[in-house]
Point group: C2
């Protein structure tokens, strides 16, 4: 335990395939942390409660009475308890006032709800990313609007206004990449491109250019991956990087239309991701000539600290 002051909070970033636990003091400083592969689809025998015992039991024994707050898919229909989606836009305060308690030993775990919106035949949902974005806000001036991207299987773009989550949209870029590369005829001509990261390979910039700079729907650009490989215009070892660039470029093109008015100066876009994925998106932003910055790691822990700080007093019997 590294922090000087007394631990006060356990923050859980509990997703589908991983559980990250943080021990925080009252100022939100991380005292200790653990990463586990026990996501909600890979629980230990005994379910949620027993899984959590194995990860945070030592902290609870050493520091009785800690508040425990969890965000992510743990609050989904397939999770520990369903924390219903709040309608977007949502402020930090209203999110903090809407935590859902699930019994844990003689206390509770407080679960952060997800966000949803639905209008004009469109709809979207998020769960976990809202907490990361609130944590990332500690890196920016909240006096102005900010824009974040959380790349991944389901890439999220989130616009904030002060400490309010104002608007968001999801692109299934990572899932499409995996599906197309491994299960489709478009990826059939692919060969392993070697040790370089995808975004450092020659095909990436070409795919990004195609996706980002050229008009037309990505559905109409996808077959070009196969066509160019068949015609020898893309090497088999470049197919994966080209496809990655094409999909990320298409994502950026659409997101910019939604969130980045061309005539208006825009503050740098915050990237919230593990280092490898953050690097790929940073490379994409550089090729697109748009400023970005990398949000410090463990944004979820800082987000939960902010939520817990605003929730204190709203909820009675926590921890113990």
């Amino acid at each position: 335990v590294r922090c000087v002051s007394t631990p006060a909070l356990i923050a859980l970033d509990w997703g589908t395939t991983s559980l990250r636990a943080y021990l925080l003091d009252e100022s939100g400083q991380v005292c200790d942390h653990q990463a586990s592969p026990l996501g909600i689809t890979r629980l230990a025998t005994g379910g949620f409660s027993a899984t959590l015992d194995g990860v945070i039991g030592r902290w609870r024994a050493a520091h009785p009475g800690l508040t425990i707050v969890a965000s992510g898919m743990v609050g989904s229909r397939a999770g520990w308890v369903e924390a219903p989606y709040l309608p977007c836009p949502v402020s930090l305060e209203s999110l903090a006032a809407s935590l859902v308690d699930v019994p844990y030993h003689d206390g509770v775990v407080q679960i952060v709800p997800g966000l949803a919106w639905h209008q004009r035949g469109e709809a979207d949902v998020m769960r976990g990313e809202e907490t990361q974005v609130l944590g990332a806000l500690s890196d920016v001036a909240t006096a102005t609007d900010a824009l974040f991207v959380l790349p991944g299987t389901h890439s999220k773009w989130v616009r904030t206004s002060g400490v309010t989550l104002a608007e968001f949209v999801t692109y299934p870029t990572g899932e499409m990449y995996e599906l197309l590369l491994t299960k489709s005829t478009l990826g059939q001509l692919h060969e392993d491109g070697g040790d370089l990261a995808l975004h450092d390979q020659a095909g990436f910039a070409r795919g990004l250019d195609r996706g980002f700079r050229h008009a037309g729907d990505s559905l109409g650009k996808l077959f070009g991956v196969r066509a160019r490989a068949l015609l020898g215009d893309i090497k088999a070892t470049d197919v994966a990087a080209y496809l990655s660039g094409l999909l990320i470029g298409s994502e950026l093109r659409d997101a910019f239309v939604r969130f980045v008015p061309p005539a208006k100066a825009h503050p740098p876009i915050g990237i919230i991701a593990d280092p490898a994925l953050a690097q790929a998106y940073a490379a994409a932003f550089a090729l697109a000539e748009v400023a970005c910055f990398l949000v410090r790691p463990d944004a979820a822990a800082r987000g939960i600290a902010a939520i817990a700080g605003n929730s204190a007093g709203n909820s009675a019997g926590t921890g113990a």
Copy 2:
């Protein structure tokens, strides 16, 4: 054998998963036909030659000296012989002058090459559809430009000018539908919608509206399938029809930008497909308020007859 006049030509529409064979007289009238599942990935023992013997042996025995012309994936790298792609645009005459012979018994099978184009970082290929479109031209006035759609795994849009294939583009709509419905998290919430055809189900019109009428890239619309299902806005039994409508709508939206200038009156668009798929696209065109017509079946046979008619004299030793 149904035709009155003498059989002169065997036309083969030989794709990945099927082989359709037609016995034609000199006027292009179909005397007899057979459908076989022996596509180039499902050949009989003995390969291409033995497979063909089993399907057309009876016709060859009864009518020695028939010209045999094949189109489709049989001319691909994985086919009987690779017939290199011709650069688009291509006229009927130049296609007919570019048949590639492969030895068959004491004669040859003449294989129709595919088409390719490559410009401004875009590329596309087709193989087999060029022949169907040339066959479909017998249904339209060739004095003006015409536009055809060939829906399927890889949906093709082809613009013709006279008897020249002027321009085309591919949308992997059918492949994406299958992948997304059966392999993705977006299709996870899907339940069987019952006996109605997809385009007759309630979700189809809603998905089509979303894909066709709303701005934005299809990549950004796809996650909405999952979000709307999670929020109860689409029933699980409507997910498949909604996804089908969304993808077809996105295809139409992009293809119209490319091929259908909004200010200009456009002749009806020809649909070349098996009846079920043709009905789905006809329903999509109706919802999109664009005129279309269904091309008569067996367009490939008519296309091969037109190609063979223009090729006569160009090639020497055909048939037996």
